[in-house]
């Protein structure tokens, strides 16, 4: 199984890596690039812990081959904060105690940001369905949904200035 050379942008930086043809983007990020913020919970696309942005879509990086991202843009949890400034979602997840163990948190944040980028004023139901592919076993989702609702409101307020 000859390795494939891939060139891609991750969190704005250019990376070149070699990977096996059957190696997933998640394995590449974690084991080759050293970005371990994306987690493997299932390797079958059922838990969302490995969510990353591929171009403008949120995807499960366990269901993307490393070879596929040649020439594409990948954004991960490690790229969400702006330097030292946390994204409002990150800040509010802490403030609202929207995490307990924190393992699913990177995936939730990436997916929630994708939602707010697309829909700045989601209803509770829209949030719940958008995030249905992100499993959390600790929180019962209550505080996660509240943190997203609050962040959306806060960001709309800022947008209005």
């Amino acid at each position: 199984m000859a390795n494939i050379q891939v060139s891609t942008k991750i969190n704005g930086d250019t990376y070149e890596f070699l990977c096996r043809p059957d190696e997933t983007l998640l394995e590449v990020l974690r084991d080759r690039i050293g970005l371990t913020g994306s987690k493997e919970g299932c390797a079958s696309g059922d838990c969302g812990a490995c969510s990353v942005m591929l171009g403008d879509r949120v995807v499960s990086s366990c269901l993307v081959l490393g070879a596929e991202v040649e020439g594409q843009e990948v954004n991960t949890i490690e790229g969400m904060a702006d330097g030292g400034n946390l994204h409002p979602l990150q800040r509010n997840f802490i403030k609202f105690a929207a995490l307990q163990c924190g393992f699913c948190t990177p995936g939730f944040l990436v997916a929630a940001k994708a939602l707010l980028d697309k829909n700045p004023d989601p209803t509770e139901t829209e949030i719940r369905y958008w995030l249905a592919g992100n499993l959390c076993r600790c929180t019962g989702y209550d505080k996660i949904v509240r943190a997203v609702l609050h962040t959306a409101e806060e960001m709309r307020g800022q947008a209005r200035g």
């Binding site: 199984m1 096996r20 974690r30 084991d31 970005l35 371990t36 913020g37 994306s38 987690k39 493997e40 919970g41 299932c42 390797a43 079958s44 059922d46 838990c47 812990a49 991960t76 949890i77 490690e78 969400m80 904060a81 946390l86 990150q90 800040r91 997840f93 802490i94 403030k95 609202f96 105690a97 995490l99 307990q100 163990c101 924190g102 393992f103 699913c104 948190t105 990177p106 944040l109 509770e124 139901t125 949030i127 719940r128 369905y129 995030l131 249905a132 592919g133 992100n134 499993l135 959390c136 076993r137 600790c138 929180t139 019962g140 989702y141 209550d142 505080k143 996660i144 949904v145 509240r146």
Partner: protein, 753 residues
């Protein structure tokens, strides 16, 4: 002077009861936090496990030649690599690697370490195992049958006198209760007897088991792993590999959920043994399928419950018999179930008996209030049915029979101070219970009990020269407990929350700490931290006294400062922690406190859950429309994380009630070892879960803390079942109440009506 043993609740909390940001928050939201699989070591190998494809089979031979010959394979491990172990560790050893027999599908047979994951996967397939397939049994009732295949030829049921003459799959029999059942039932006006079954569920933590082990040539070893108890990992691995405890240092990674499932070792001894053979660090990570097939689950069960009441609403006799399926090795879950069965009630005549039944399934592990939710489903369903028969409000009926201080508990001892009645009354008066039902919805409730534990605890607290404080604890933080630790230290020392940092120390840095389970962490760590802080305060007061040249008794600690008191009050300006700490090199050296204790007095707790549901009677689908948890926390140190425990427990219980469950084929193979078909609740399945914290102080803790982690999973099964019954008129006796099961029951009921 600070009194280390002062245990009464302190008034006027400043930090306790607030909701500060957790110390590990930023690491967790940026992806920086390091969990079990997030670590690499130079020269690291990847380990993989070969697992049995058969539920029950004799291992005739294992040939590792072809695997070892594969380029890049550095070690292959079988049970031959382990020696004899003390009796108490034998089941653990035989579970981490099958010994002569594979006892369940997924049982570890061999393991390899190779230079990368692709080679390790390939090598696994090159291990040749010859099996003699044996008949298997996965059902709890079938396993108790006369002619059932035996898992262990040498298992004679314990707890029965005289000892049975024949071996069986019943590992243990246990019995609890008091009074005279026959007499009780003879006085009853209504007697209901019902049978129930429940299926096994998995703890379902999202982070699979993972570890990195390094065995050094000089015998010193290290393990990094995701666990609820790294001291337990250390002591177990040391015993299994016959190495001195002092030689093995275990560091707990951040842990991605456990719920009881990470209180057992699986990969750690294998990784360490592989590292010993290969001479290189070995990392092992389970796949999700391995997690389902080889770790965790709780028991499945069959149960019979019989309760008699008088017309005046008094329960006069109660009996229960439980058969809990405990997987391939015996456990203690059935016994705990029997103890919890009737713990909510004040009963003169009560009995609960239990069988712990061996089957060809993975060894069951603790799952949040182990054993309690299962029997609670059965008992609270019958209680609910009786309330309907008696035309009593379900909460009023429970209040009429609720256990209170001085009553003899159904599991034996008399209750001391307990808060069941306040919990029930709060639930009764709660806006949810008082609210008019939305159209098409119906309501159910149930009450649940759990013990809560304390246990072995060792902490240290160091005052840094700038007056900030570092606390080291020895229990992994699963749900934000570090925040509560900082709060309690800050409260006691009278300093800001942000001036305290709590870390989880490795096993070489502290004395033994029991595992993070049994809802013990905030209770037991907290108790020790408060005492450690009081020790540091006593030292700081003494140093101030010497500086001022006044008696130690004439110094008190207020708001983070030593100040003269009594006849010396006002003689000197207060000396605050930063100043005392800065001067400490010259006043006796570093200032620290520490405390080692077997924390007792955890205090039992009760919860009432209320659910409004909607049932689609054409498809058997149940939607949870509104849900409320009312539970006693003693004292909520960080209320947001207490609420989180209530909400999380409720969500897990709802999953158990409706859609989760192991599915086995006739072939004894688990059919749903993935999140696709093992259906845990997703975000869109649930409403907001209202968490109502009651605070009835536990006199066993300085601030009144009770454990809160487990009780919340006890009532949901019955709560949802009772709501479904009031929606449809159908009394479900089977968990999960998945749509095909519920629809069948509804249609049967419709035909009868």
């Amino acid at each position: 002077m600070a009194d280390i043993d002062r245990l009464e609740k302190v008034d006027g909390f400043k930090v306790v009861g607030t909701r500060p940001n957790r110390p590990d928050g930023v690491d967790k939201v940026t992806g920086r936090a390091r969990f079990g699989a997030d670590i690499h070591a130079p020269g690291m190998l990847i380990g993989k496990v070969l697992r049995s494809p058969h539920p029950h089979a004799k291992i005739l031979s294992i040939d590792t030649t072809r695997a070892l010959a594969l380029s890049g394979v550095k070690a292959v491990l079988t049970s031959d690599d382990f020696g004899d172990v003390p009796a108490m560790h034998q089941a653990t050893l035989h579970n981490v690697m099958a010994h002569n027999k594979a006892l369940y599908e997924g049982h570890a047979i061999a393991a390899v370490a190779a230079v990368d994951v692709a080679i390790a996967r390939k090598a696994i397939k090159l291990i040749d195992v010859e099996y003699e397939i044996l008949p298997h049994v996965t059902d709890v009732d079938a396993a108790m049958a006369e002619d059932a295949p035996l898992l262990h030829e040498d298992n004679f049921t314990s707890g029965i006198d005289p000892k049975p003459s024949k071996p069986s799959n019943i590992a243990t029999w246990s019995e609890f209760g008091h009074g005279n059942l026959d007499e009780g039932f003879s006085q009853a006006d209504i007697i209901l007897e019902r049978e129930f079954t429940t299926e096994a569920t998995h703890q379902g933590y999202i982070e699979p088991h993972a570890c990195l082990a390094t065995y050094s040539e000089d015998g010193n070893s290290e393990i990094w792993c995701t666990t609820q108890g790294h001291f337990l990992v250390r002591d177990t691995c040391a015993a299994l590999l016959d190495i001195a405890v002092s030689r093995l240092r275990v560091t707990a990674s951040e842990i991605g959920g456990g719920f009881g499932g990470k209180t057992v070792v699986y990969l750690e001894p294998l990784a360490l043994a592989l590292s010993r053979k290969a001479g290189r660090p070995v990392k092992m990570v389970m796949s999700r399928s391995e997690v389902f097939r080889s770790t965790g689950p709780t028991s499945s069960s069959s149960m019979r419950v019989k309760i008699g009441v008088r017309k005046d609403g008094r329960i006069i006799a109660a009996d229960a018999h439980l058969n809990y399926q405990s997987g391939a090795f015996g456990g203690f879950i059935a016994m705990l179930g029997a103890m919890c069965a009737y713990a909510c009630y004040s009963l003169e005549n009560v009995r609960a008996t239990a069988n712990e039944v061996l089957t060809n399934r993975p060894m069951q592990a603790s799952y949040r209030a182990p054993g309690a939710p299962i029997v609670n489903f059965a008992v609270e369903s019958v209680i609910d049915e009786l309330a309907v028969e008696l035309e009593l409000d379900p909460i009023e009926f429970r209040l009429m029979n609720a256990a209170k201080e001085g009553d003899r508990s159904s599991y034996g001892p008399v209750f001391d101070q307990i808060g069941l009645i306040q919990t029930l009354e709060t639930a009764r008066d709660h806006p949810h219970y008082q609210a008019t039902l939305a159209k098409g919805q119906a309501r159910g409730m149930a009450v649940g009990f759990w013990f809560n534990f304390g246990g072995l605890t060792s902490v240290s607290l160091n005052v840094n020269f700038d007056g900030t404080v570092t606390v080291s604890v020895g229990r992994p933080d699963i749900g934000g407990s570090r925040a509560a630790m900082c709060q309690m230290a800050a409260e006691e020392l009278g300093i800001p929350y942000d001036n305290v940092r709590t870390i989880i120390a490795d096993t070489s840095s502290l004395g033994f700490n029991d595992t993070t389970d049994g809802s013990r962490t905030t209770f037991a760590n907290g108790l020790a931290i408060i005492r450690a802080a009081r020790g540091a305060i006593r030292d700081m007061c003494a140093r101030a006294a010497k500086t001022w040249d006044i008696p130690e008794e004439a110094v008190e600690w207020v708001d983070g400062c030593a100040r003269p008191c009594g006849s010396n009050a006002g003689d000197f300006e207060p000396m605050c922690i930063a100043e005392i700490a800065r001067k400490s090199p010259k006043t006796g050296g570093p200032i620290a406190g520490h405390h080692e204790v077997n924390a007792e007095g955890a205090g039992v707790s009760f919860a009432v859950h209320i659910a409004d549901v909607k049932v689609d009677e054409e498809t058997g689908r149940t939607d949870i429309c509104r849900y409320t948890v009312v539970q006693d926390a003693g004292k909520a140190i960080h209320p947001a994380y207490v609420e989180g425990q209530y909400q999380g427990g409720a969500a897990q219980g709802i999953g158990w009630a409706l859609n989760e469950g192991y599915v086995y084929g006739d072939d004894g193979i688990m059919q749903n070892p993935g999140f696709l078909d093992y259906r845990m609740p997703v975000c869109s399945d649930l409403p907001m879960i209202e968490a109502k914290i009651i605070e009835i102080p536990n006199k066993g803790h300085p601030y009144g803390v009770r454990g809160v982690g487990e009780t919340s999973i006890v009532p949901p099964l019955a709560t949802v079942a009772n709501a479904i019954c009031s929606a449809t008129g159908v009394r479900m006796t089977q968990i999960p109440m998945a749509p095909p099961v519920l629809l069948k029951a509804i249609e049967k009921n419709n035909k009868q009506v």
